[in-house]
Each structure stands twice: as structure tokens, then as C-alpha cells.
């Protein structure tokens, strides 16, 4: 007996993420479809909410707020790729060099 598959695809939740046009800072879409630089405020959207979120994101692309928009699918394993972990940490995984003095530079 053949099984009748459910014609409605189950949408996995997605985070929407982008960079702010003016300074390149990494942003995530929050629950109210505004953009936040705080990863903890990112919300995973599904179904109807996702449609609204995507529409808002498209508008923000067109309105010079964001660039480089994409979606991160949450597959339930709780793991994020190394890339997303580094983006969320807002910096490299290594300790960057520290400048020794913070004085003005002569000759400039």
C-alpha cells in the first residue's frame, strides 16, 4: 500500500542575518522584525512569520539598511557552523595584537 505523503512541506525554522550597510556590523532579525547586533535577540522564524520577516528583510535591502542577507536553517541539532559561531562572537577566535600605546602619531 502506498503511503500518501503530506503535500505541505514542513518549514524548518530560520534565522535571518545580514550586515549593516554603514559599518558592516553583523545583524540578526529580532522578533519584531527589527535588526539587532545582539545574537541573543535573534529569533527563528517559521511559516507565516517567516513570510513577514522575509518581506521586511527585502524592504531593508532596498532601503539601504542592510546588505549580504541570508538565512541560517535551524535543524534542531543545536549546532552552528564554525562560521556562524565566529560571526556571533563578533571577532576572531584568536587574540588579535594589542597596540602598545594609544598616542597620537607624529608626522601625520
Amino acid at each position: 500500500m502506498t503511503r500518501i505523503t503530506d503535500s505541505k512541506a514542513v518549514t524548518l525554522p530560520v534565522l535571518l542575518t545580514a550586515n549593516r550597510l554603514t559599518d558592516g556590523v553583523v545583524l540578526w532579525m529580532a522578533g519584531d522584525t527589527s535588526w539587532t547586533a545582539n545574537r541573543n535577540e535573534a529569533v527563528a522564524f517559521t511559516a507565516a512569520g517567516l513570510t513577514v520577516a522575509r518581506d521586511q528583510a527585502k524592504a531593508d535591502l532596498a532601503n539601504q539598511r542592510i546588505i549580504s542577507l541570508y538565512e541560517i536553517t535551524i535543524d534542531g541539532t543545536g549546532k552552528h557552523s564554525a562560521r556562524e559561531q565566529i560571526r556571533a562572537a563578533k571577532g576572531p577566535s584568536i587574540q588579535p595584537l594589542r597596540d602598545q600605546h594609544n598616542q597620537g602619531v607624529s608626522n601625520v
Binding site: 554603514t22 556590523v25 539601504q64 562560521r83 595584537l97 597596540d99 602598545q100 602619531v105 608626522n107 601625520v108
Partner: protein, 551 residues
């Protein structure tokens, strides 16, 4: 060094004003991101993982101490107090805001610097031997020709929208220290039988997904025809290079598809039409530019070898440094010295603003106020008197810059990798640090001898891992960072692409794998045989076996 005159400076100011206008139009929506992107790329501005990155041009790797101090100021005022020197002799700042970029370009213009065409599908920074003009084995000084190429390629109207990026390198030494075999166009200065100087023109080299060693296009091109000939090559490429697939769009793909013979025919046929178009520089202008690169008048100085030797005998650390970081000069009383930007805890090629200032000051005090950025992400100070080398070294120690030795295993070339770069699959910086930690003893590094180890975070191969004795390539294996090892790449005369040894390693296993390779070498080498020669002799089989066991 090339000295900017009013015309050059006006040009930079106008370019900067143009970019300010373009940013305004982007922010207002008059330009879409698709339209703005090539414009910002051609002013060096990339979007990376955390922010915009600005790649500032250091034409053919030469800069003045004032310019280096100026870059330190930019690092402090617009970034996080450090910069990264690249394999194309440029500098990158990682934390740039788009809205501040026009101010940075203005600041650069005041230093006679810019970020023109350091990115985008255009002709990029022409690179060369960092010892150019100070080397002991040059046929001629390539720097003047690099400047001629730079001016010709700057805002060239026909070649601003190529199928893909275009990289030219020039070399004039007895050994090729500019990796010309791995560039889109490589120019080797040679002498013909009549003693006339010209260029051996190579074409179609590159790294990336499909690494290729360049092929000889023209065995001898008289220098006076350089620009018309370059036009011919670029025109053939612009017209016929693929535009349907960015991974197949470089000139190396076109040369391979056509075959070098047919490609040469196409270039020659184009060149016939171009020669009479006044493209070649008039002699007066050529000489004007070359005159900036006449050999420096070096003060007579007594031979300092005795002092250097005495210090080497008394001070083991200096001895190890001197063995690899001092380069012979055409003047017997002088030398060039490497300042290594490779150290444990330092991302390879990174320097803080205070370090840049310290190095600039050392170049003023001991050199001629001039510095060179190397393909290996270090800095060279040319024209140092031998007798001054011990004090110069003391200055480096004081600034915390003695670092790893040039061209030994600690002198790792690494791209920024996944810590910074949007394209990367894996992080290169932690792996570099792990390897460095494993080989942290300078005596051991010297015992191993000359060895090029390069780490790329992805197949774009910005760290030239294909051209390394030991290449490390970051890959994504089911979401986890892994590292593939290649052996036997060569960047010099006989450019050669490294071969993959086998399956990739987890990050924590990489130092063991490298050490295994080194131990095979140390066990098998003949007296005085460097790693590359030993590998040529043995082939990769014993290394493969040691790493993976018998198949």
C-alpha cells in the same frame, strides 16, 4: 622611491572625492549594491565576516617610513590598532566602516597612498622581489618597471571590468623571489645575446581551485614594448575570457583552453595593431619614471663583517637571526634585513600600530627610511650597513620584533582564514599558532633548515599553499574544520604545484602530522640537503606512508 608630483597628488584627491560621492549615492539608494560593489572593490573595500575590510595598496611592496607611520595612525584612528600585511605586498585593515572609508582615502591621499584597484575584476597591485634595488643578483632594478606598469594599469578604461582579477609580478634576480610563475602575467627581466635587457613574459599562472604554473609567452620582449604588449594580452583576455563561471574566468583557464600557441598568435595579432598606437611610453616619460629608482648613493663604509661575526660568536640568538634574516646587497658594506612578523601568538603578517612605528623608526635610523613588504608577509629594511646590524638587531629585540627566522619553518604564510574572511572554510590562524608552538625552538628550526609552510583557509589559496614545501589547506568536512596537507610546491623559477598527501586531519592532529613529515626528512636527508631537494629525491611516498601507513 617614486615621488608624487602635483599631477599624481591631484589624481589621488580626485579619486577620493569620486569615492565619497559614490558612497553618498549608495547610502541614498541612487546606486544599488550590485552597482556599488565593483566601485567599492576598486577602492579596496571588501565586506568580510565582521565588518568591511580595507586593502591599502603598497605598490610593489615599497613604502617610506612616513607612510608606514601614517598606516599606524589609520590603524589607531579607524581600526583596532593593527594591520595585516598580505602575500601581494599590500596591507589590510579588518574593522572598517563604510561611512568612514572616504575619510580614510583622504588620509591615505595625503600620504601619497591609496586603495585603488586592490580588489575587483581589474588589474591589481603589481608585485616584485622585496629586495629589488638592493639585491646582489639583479640584472636590473625591476621597481621602475613596476611603477610604469602601475601607472599604465591605474584606471585603464578598457580593463576596468575584466572577467576576473588580474595579477602581474616582475622579477629581476638570479632567483625568482616574486613567484612570477604563479601570476596571470609574470615578467622576468633577462638579457639577450646582445646584452640588451628585456622581459621573458610568462602567462597563465595562478593558485586557487585550478592551480597552474605560468607558461612562456614571449622569450624576449624589449623593454620599450612592455606596455603595448601588456595591452595586447589584456585585450585578448578581456574579449575572450569566460564570464559565465567565476571559477573558470581567470586567464589561466583561457590559456589552457586555447593552448599557448594559439594564445600567443592571438596576442601577436592584437599587438601588431597596437604597436603603432602610441601606447608604448615615450622615452622621456620612461626615463623620468626610471630615474626615481636609480641606485642610492651609499656612503663609503668600512667592511662590517668582522663586527657581525664577533657578535654572532658571542650571542647565539643573534647568530641564529643573522643566519637567515640578513640578505646580501650589491654594495659589499651593506645588507638588507628581514623583520619577521611571525611569532607565537601573532597572526602571521600582523603588526600593531606601535610596532609599525618602531619598524619605521628603525628604517630611518639604520636604513634609508624605506621599507619593503614581502610576499611572505614580513618586512624588509634595505640598505643597512653591515656594521650597524648588531645595533639594528638590538632595536628589534627592544621592540619585541626578533620573531621567527626568514624562510625557516616558523616563517609561515597564512591567510586570515575563517576568523575574518567570508570565503573561508576553516580557520588558519589557530593552526599556524599550533604549528609554531610545536617548532618553538629556534635551534630546531635552524636544524630543519629552509622550509616554506603555507596555510590557506580555503581553496582560493590566498596563502599560496600550492606553492609551498608543505601546504596546509582548510576544508569543511561535515561541518567540522579539517586540514589537508600537500607537499612539493615551488614558487621560484620552476614553479610547481604541491601534491595532496591523503585524507585531511583534524586541527589538533596537524602539528603531529607536520612533525612526522619533518622527522622523515631529518632521518633521510643527505648532508646539507634542504627539504625541497630531499623531497625531490625521495618523492612523496615515504611521507605518505609515515602519515597513513601502507595502503
Amino acid at each position: 622611491m617614486y615621488k608624487y608630483d602635483n599631477l599624481d597628488q591631484s589624481f589621488l584627491q580626485s579619486r577620493s572625492a569620486q569615492f565619497r560621492d559614490q558612497v553618498q549615492r549608495r547610502l541614498s539608494g541612487a546606486l544599488s549594491e550590485d552597482e556599488f560593489k565593483p566601485l567599492r572593490l576598486q577602492n579596496g573595500l571588501y565586506l568580510q565576516l565582521h565588518a568591511y575590510m580595507l586593502r591599502v595598496a603598497i605598490p610593489y611592496g615599497v613604502l617610506s617610513s612616513d607612510q608606514l607611520r601614517g598606516l599606524a595612525g589609520i590603524a589607531r584612528d579607524f581600526d583596532r590598532g593593527f594591520g595585516h600585511f598580505t602575500t601581494r605586498q599590500n596591507i589590510q585593515f579588518n574593522w572598517i566602516k563604510l561611512v568612514e572609508a572616504p575619510d580614510i582615502l583622504d588620509r591615505l591621499a595625503a600620504l601619497d597612498m591609496h586603495a585603488i584597484q586592490t580588489s575587483g575584476n581589474c588589474i591589481r597591485n603589481t608585485t616584485t622581489d622585496p629586495l629589488a634595488g638592493a639585491a646582489h643578483d639583479e640584472i636590473a632594478n625591476p621597481l621602475g618597471w613596476c611603477e610604469i606598469i602601475r601607472q599604465w594599469s591605474t584606471l585603464h578604461p578598457e580593463f576596468a571590468f575584466l572577467p576576473r582579477k588580474f595579477k602581474i609580478a616582475v622579477s629581476a634576480g638570479a632567483t625568482d623571489r616574486a613567484a612570477t610563475g604563479f601570476h596571470d602575467i609574470g615578467l622576468r627581466m633577462v638579457k639577450n645575446r646582445g646584452g640588451e635587457i628585456g622581459f621573458r613574459v610568462l602567462v597563465g599562472g595562478g593558485q586557487g581551485r585550478t592551480p597552474r604554473a605560468a607558461q612562456v609567452l614571449n622569450a624576449f620582449l624589449p623593454t620599450r614594448h612592455l606596455l603595448s604588449y601588456l595591452e595586447a594580452i589584456l585585450r585578448v583576455y578581456n574579449a575572450a575570457g569566460r564570464r559565465d563561471n567565476i571559477y573558470k574566468a581567470r586567464i589561466k583557464i583561457l590559456v589552457e583552453a586555447m593552448g599557448i600557441s594559439a594564445f600567443a598568435d592571438a596576442v601577436n595579432s592584437e599587438w601588431l595593431g597596437l604597436q603603432s598606437n602610441g601606447l608604448d611610453l615615450p622615452v622621456a616619460e620612461q626615463d623620468r619614471i626610471l630615474a626615481h629608482f636609480a641606485p642610492p648613493v651609499l656612503k663609503p663604509v668600512r667592511d662590517g663583517s668582522a663586527e657581525v661575526l664577533a657578535r654572532r660568536q658571542a650571542d647565539q640568538a643573534f647568530d641564529l637571526w643573522a643566519a637567515s634574516n640578513i640578505h646580501p646587497h650589491w654594495h659589499p658594506g651593506y645588507s638588507s634585513a628581514s623583520v619577521s612578523l611571525k611569532q607565537i601568538g601573532r597572526p602571521p603578517g600582523d603588526a600593531s600600530a606601535s610596532e609599525m612605528i618602531a619598524i619605521a623608526d628603525l628604517a630611518d635610523q639604520f636604513g634609508r627610511g624605506e621599507l619593503r613588504i614581502t610576499y611572505t608577509q614580513n618586512i624588509i629594511v634595505p640598505h643597512i650597513k653591515l656594521i650597524d646590524l648588531p645595533t639594528f638587531y638590538d632595536g628589534l629585540i627592544k621592540a619585541g620584533l626578533a620573531g621567527a627566522e626568514d624562510a625557516l619553518i616558523g616563517d609561515i604564510i597564512a591567510c586570515p582564514g575563517l576568523d575574518y574572511c567570508n570565503l573561508a572554510n576553516a580557520r588558519s590562524l589557530p593552526v599556524a599558532d599550533r604549528i609554531f608552538a610545536r617548532f618553538d625552538d629556534p635551534s630546531r628550526r635552524h636544524e630543519i633548515g629552509p622550509l616554506r609552510l603555507n596555510i590557506s583557509g580555503c581553496i582560493n589559496a590566498c596563502a599560496h599553499h600550492h606553492a609551498a614545501d608543505i601546504g596546509v589547506l582548510g576544508v569543511n568536512k561535515k561541518g567540522v574544520e579539517h586540514f589537508q596537507i600537500t607537499l612539493g610546491g615551488k614558487a621560484g623559477e620552476a614553479a610547481q604545484i604541491g601534491r595532496i598527501l591523503g585524507p585531511s586531519f583534524a586541527e589538533e592532529d596537524v602539528p603531529d602530522a607536520i612533525e612526522t613529515i619533518i622527522n622523515i626528512y631529518l632521518g633521510a636527508r643527505h648532508e646539507g640537503e634542504i627539504f625541497a631537494a630531499c623531497l625531490d629525491r625521495l618523492g612523496i611516498a615515504p611521507f605518505k606512508e609515515a602519515l597513513y601507513g601502507t595502503g
